[in-house]
């Protein structure tokens, strides 16, 4: 059960890799797909590990990523991330 959920604005990303490197639970990896500027934005590879600490959001120089905590009572299992 994931405690948090990552959301990414791929068009802002410049693929510096800070979020991938410093995520404490290694939730992210750089994708092989491109955004319109030719960068490889990160994508979520282990959504179940996300704790919602938002360290990725604090490190992001491009304001492109943030993580939010999932409220356990209100989490909707049908939505992505809250598995």
């Amino acid at each position: 059960m994931a405690k948090g959920r990552v959301s990414i604005v791929v068009e802002r990303c410049k693929a510096c890799g800070f979020c991938v490197e410093f995520c404490p639970s290694h939730v992210l990896a750089l994708s092989s797909a491109f955004n319109s500027k030719g960068y490889h934005p990160p994508h979520v590879v282990h959504p179940e590990k996300c704790s919602g600490c938002d360290l990725c959001g604090m490190y992001c120089p491009d304001f492109a990523i943030c993580a939010t905590k999932i409220d356990a009572k209100r989490a909707d299992p049908a939505k992505g991330g809250a598995k």
Binding site: S7, E11, R12, P61
Partner: protein, 308 residues
């Protein structure tokens, strides 16, 4: 740069758009502080200035400052662009003159919280004199100095903060002049709050900025930030991510360390922490005290004479 994983093999070569990964109902907590129409910004991939803006916005959130009482002034350079990206009252001044502009702003409207957000070249080179005199007078400004160790926007020339033996475009055989130790400089000049963090220390930086907001007087926060395009590349130090790993490995937290010992070298350890936190009357307090003393009854407090 981390290895690009081919997990999305079927996505190879595909152009992404925001709908692929994004949850529209989640908003970045710093979004209200940004002029979203101007993002993505011009800073290079791996540059740390965006991260410092991120920490600054989070410090504003934490310290619950009234944004209508806040003004941000920046000079010229990569960091000078911050004034154009934040959704605050902001002004992008001429080169080196961020502190004089901010001084006038603060004196004309003492109720404002004035933040000076600029780079090392702007604040310590062309604006160096203004920096030391603002610290000497203890004007109530919060100065955030993003130190990327080089003049980045103009092409990587040697700055007063460039460490010994590094290579720049104007010193292709190595820098031989001693560099400025900014915390030592501003402490000697009279600043009441002096801290240094690297952009690896996002939480500490956020806390330092919030603390500076509650401090009356000249506060100076130096943020060490990588310049992957000019400094890192020319000195074969890798990209922005390598710089971050370097900061993680080499920085040493020493709160209250004597600032004479915190000078930067190219490959040595980086001493970070809160170095100075002291009390001194600020410029306006001293001015009022002096006038009340010498004019006596004739001194009339003009606190209402402010622009609104």
């Amino acid at each position: 740069m981390p290895e690009i994983l081919n997990i999305l093999d079927n996505d190879l070569g595909k152009n992404l758009n925001n709908d692929d990964f994004n949850d529209d109902d989640v908003q970045n907590p710093v979004e209200p502080f940004l002029r979203s129409d101007r993002v993505p910004h011009i800073w290079c991939p791996g540059c740390g200035i965006g991260t410092t803006v991120n920490s600054f916005a989070r410090a504003l959130l934490e310290s619950k400052i009234d944004l209508r009482s806040l003004a941000l002034v920046s000079g010229i350079g990569c960091t000078g662009r911050v004034a154009g990206y934040v959704k605050l009252d902001s002004f992008h001044t001429t080169h080196g003159r961020a502190i004089p502009f901010a001084t006038g702003l603060k004196l004309a409207n003492p109720k404002l919280n004035v933040v000076v957000y600029s780079g090392d070249g702007d604040l310590s080179a062309i604006g160096g004199n203004h920096l030391i005199h603002a610290a000497r007078r203890n004007i109530d400004l919060k100065v955030i100095c993003v130190n990327n160790l080089i003049y980045a926007m103009t092409g990587g020339q040697t700055a007063p903060t460039t460490p010994d033996h590094s290579t720049t475009s104007t010193n292709p055989y190595g820098v031989f002049e001693p560099s400025f130790n900014l915390p030592h400089l501003v402490e000697a000049a009279g600043a009441v709050y002096v801290a240094r963090w690297t952009m690896f220390h996002v939480r500490q930086l956020t806390r330092a900025i919030s603390e500076a907001f509650h401090k009356k007087g000249f506060s100076f926060i130096e943020v060490i930030s990588p310049c992957p395009t000019l400094y890192q590349r020319r000195n074969k130090l890798g990209d922005g991510l390598d710089a971050m790993k370097d900061y993680k490995a080499k920085s040493k937290v020493r709160n209250g360390a004597p600032t004479s010992e915190v000078g930067m070298t190219m490959t040595g350890e980086i001493i970070v922490g809160k170095f100075v936190d002291r009390e001194r009357p600020d410029y306006q307090t001293m001015m009022r005290a002096q006038y009340a003393d010498s004019l006596g009854e004739r001194f009339v407090e003009q606190s209402e004479m402010v622009c609104s």
